[in-house]
Symmetry: C2
Subunit: 485 residues, 2 copies
């Protein structure tokens, strides 16, 4: 189905498209085309969407129709727009590009690109032995059709044991195995969020969670995190719950994506109580819970404070183990797990058997694997912090005590422009506005430290080079036609 | 979210609940409770749904409120219903049961059950060697975060080559790898079917496709297949397209699920032309295309006749290889594949890497594996046909020329009652009404021949024993509380 974006909507998304930082500017049509390419590249504007008619966009932006005509022509030339007389113009992916899992577009051949769009690491060395061992476990399962909508019992047991060890007694019947954490979130939203329901999320938050909520056509309210201070303002968060009484609230209490903040125990307890009072289902994304650094103590799981089955915890193995596994889970009441399983049969039936067996083997080695991952992330974080201090000392950030990313406040509302300029020098960035709604957060950028230290240092060096370019030179942020953004 | 079912809706679903076949009848309250359990067990009535108030259901069924009260009490006793004062009564899964991938409920300990609810086979012997080989391929992929939203290029190439060999030239860019065929369907529906859109499906059709369409809140129209004759009535099918001009039509042209019919080449061509004329997206489920039996020639793929990108083909490895793999795909235009990939990032990111490597190895052995599967299915089908001729000679069916199931016309509108009675003797059946809308198809039952011949013969013997019981004895169809249906 082709959806449309109205002139006013696109104008809001475009924000300050014409005021690229720097003393000199590109021609208006080129700046407009560049800004639209940026929205496409980082998927704030979806594929296959019909853009407004030239006249409508010109009015919405208060510019001449000639400028819009020239911008659309430029977008057609680079393969970002396809037009047909009578049917309008809709967004397309240029040849030679693909959609990456970050939602960001990338050239098919991106071998020289340093990808800071994805906040996940390469696989641990234990993966191949685990895969070999899992192949030998397979025969036990091959006599049946192989569908296990709630997951293999042995993996559910291992995941439940992990929760119990963290202080929330959990039975395997409370665990649903999913194909990754995002899949867990999507299933929970399908069950719990009817079209038009109100939800509360943090701002900034995880872009794919926003995508899943938009797909449910939820009405999204946000609680703004304070980048510099402790993150959540407890009074404001609980106040937002009480005022909007949302159907569901989605929070990332451990090393929040993207800010890296860790929610204190007392706020966890008050949040659960408030959710109970407002009839809100509290979805807790524990993607990063395994990754405290520097021996930082992690408060008890949010589910510890749950007396009324208000909390649904989701988690997975993408961050501490490997994203290519696609293993995640839901922890909820046993009846809710069964309802999710019944729903799941109409979505994707079940998770693969072999992958679940690999996960069982990895979880047996959890201590070793996670300790190595933490040590690796700790040194990578330090390398990133050092490089930022050296090359971009004017950027401000809190050094995160865990997780895989930091959230930097820039020296101007330049995040989207910077991301476009960085592509030109081989660095992919997810600009701040991807983590919020409607073009805000231009003063911020997410910087994961999942890559090797040398890559991080080189990426920061390159970012700094274009950052200073943006201030100095009249160069278009886009080269045509080989590079998209 | 808790949804409700109204009295009138439940009455329609219940159909002829009080007229269980047989000269004698259970008490009305027990028959009503039994019929509701049957709707739950085969998921025509979802988990977590609020049932109508007793007075409302009594009015809708034209019976006394006392009868409904007693039926609800019985359902509470067996764990199928939970009530709370002020909040009403909602459906629950009894302790000791789980949801199977067929959507049917099953006891946790169902070792002695012959499951004719699932139309899929055990794994081929080639699976373990393929898993071992895939483990050795893994290192090539472990250096990255492991997310490939469109799938691994080598698997996309192998799938594309399969289409090309079948006569539809296909490039890897036209293939999206998914986590099974159901997942492929769900993704396509998410992109193409907005809430309230009209869709056309066959009747009977695959229950999980109906579930996915209901989740989209589509308006479902049906084209009735003729069980006895050739299946599709071309004039009626094309007429239904022209009259309803649906957004999307879903068909299973090869060994249709559940009827086993094979759509002839000329109808395929006319269907594509009609879909183009009505602006309908034609989703073609090729789940069974690899499984012609007796050397039956398979007509060209529907996509052969597509000149206007109207056809989206979906398929997978569950039937000819193994369901526990969870590997499927979409074949569409390259731009549509990219839009699906962008959408998929917000759903489940990507399919697991290891599983895709296993699939590559299996596809290299396709000829051997599929030939063995066909030979196996052919002999199992013959065993099922022979057992039906011996034990249930009054049932009528067309012997299918492929696929994994036959669709039998019963000697009365007894399908749901028979399925409930069969549970008591250790046979799980998917009754006819699951394959349609609103309680029709009670004269039919789907019988897969995916299990070994001895199991099929024993299952038919047991079914025949309760079939004849239904005519003779005043025995409740339900035992309490150990067995659910």
């Amino acid at each position: 189905m082709t959806t449309s974006v109205r002139g006013g909507q696109l104008a809001r998304l475009l924000g300050q498209w014409h005021s690229l930082p720097g003393r000199h500017r590109s021609p208006d049509y080129a700046a407009l085309a560049g800004a639209i390419r940026g929205l496409l590249t980082d998927s704030r504007l979806p594929l296959g969407v019909r853009l407004p008619a030239e006249r409508e966009l010109a009015e919405a932006l208060g510019i001449s129709r000639t400028t819009v005509t020239a911008a659309y022509r430029s977008l057609r030339e680079t393969g970002h727009l396809t037009s047909r007389r009578g049917a309008g113009s809709w967004t397309t992916l240029p040849n030679g590009h693909r959609v990456a899992s970050s939602g960001l577009w990338t050239p098919d051949d991106d071998m020289d690109m340093i990808d800071l769009g994805v906040a996940a690491s390469a696989a641990p060395v234990e993966l191949v032995p685990a895969a070999r061992a899992a192949a030998e476990d397979l025969p036990r399962f091959l006599g049946s059709a192989g569908y296990h909508p709630t997951g293999l019992m042995e993996l559910r047991e291992a995941v439940a044991a992990g929760y119990t060890a963290r202080g929330v007694p959990t039975s395997p019947e409370q665990i649903l195995i999913t194909s990754g954490t995002q899949h867990a979130l999507d299933l929970v939203l399908r069950l719990s969020v009817p079209a038009g329901a109100t939800v509360l999320v943090e701002s900034p938050t995880y872009p794919n969670a926003l995508a899943a909520l938009s797909a449910r056509r939820a009405r999204i309210n946000t609680h703004g995190l304070d980048a510099a201070a402790a993150g959540w303002d407890g009074e404001m968060l609980l106040g937002a719950l009480r005022q909007t009484r949302p159907r569901l609230a989605y929070v990332i209490p451990e090393f929040q994506n993207p800010t890296g903040h860790l929610m204190p125990a007392d706020l966890r307890e008050r949040l659960v109580a408030a959710a109970h009072a407002t009839g809100t289902e509290l979805v807790v994304d524990e993607s990063f819970v395994d990754l405290p650094l520097d021996g930082t103590p992690v408060p008890p799981p949010v589910a510890v404070f749950d007396r009324h089955s208000r909390v649904v915890s989701i988690g997975g193995m993408s961050k501490a183990y490997w994203g290519g596994l696609r293993i995640g889970w839901v922890r909820a009441s046993a009846p809710l797990v069964q309802r999710l399983a019944a729903l799941r049969v109409g979505v994707d039936m079940a998770s693969p058997v072999l992958e679940q067996l690999v996960a069982c083997h990895l979880l047996r080695d959890a201590e070793t694997i996670v300790a190595a991952r933490r040590a690796e992330l700790s040194s990578r974080r330090d390398a990133l912090v050092a490089a930022l201090g050296e090359y971009l000392p004017e950027w401000r950030f809190t050094v995160p005590a865990g997780g895989v990313m930091l959230w930097a406040e820039l020296d101007g509302p330049i995040s989207s422009a910077l991301a476009r300029a960085a592509e030109d020098v081989g660095v992919r960035l997810a600009p701040g506005p991807r983590f919020g709604l409607d073009g805000t957060l231009e003063r911020f950028i997410r910087l994961p430290f999942a890559l090797p230290a040398d890559d991080l240092r080189e990426a920061v060096r390159r970012i700094a080079s274009v950052r200073h370019d943006l201030d100095r030179a009249a160069r278009p942020a886009w080269r045509t036609p080989a590079v998209i953004a």
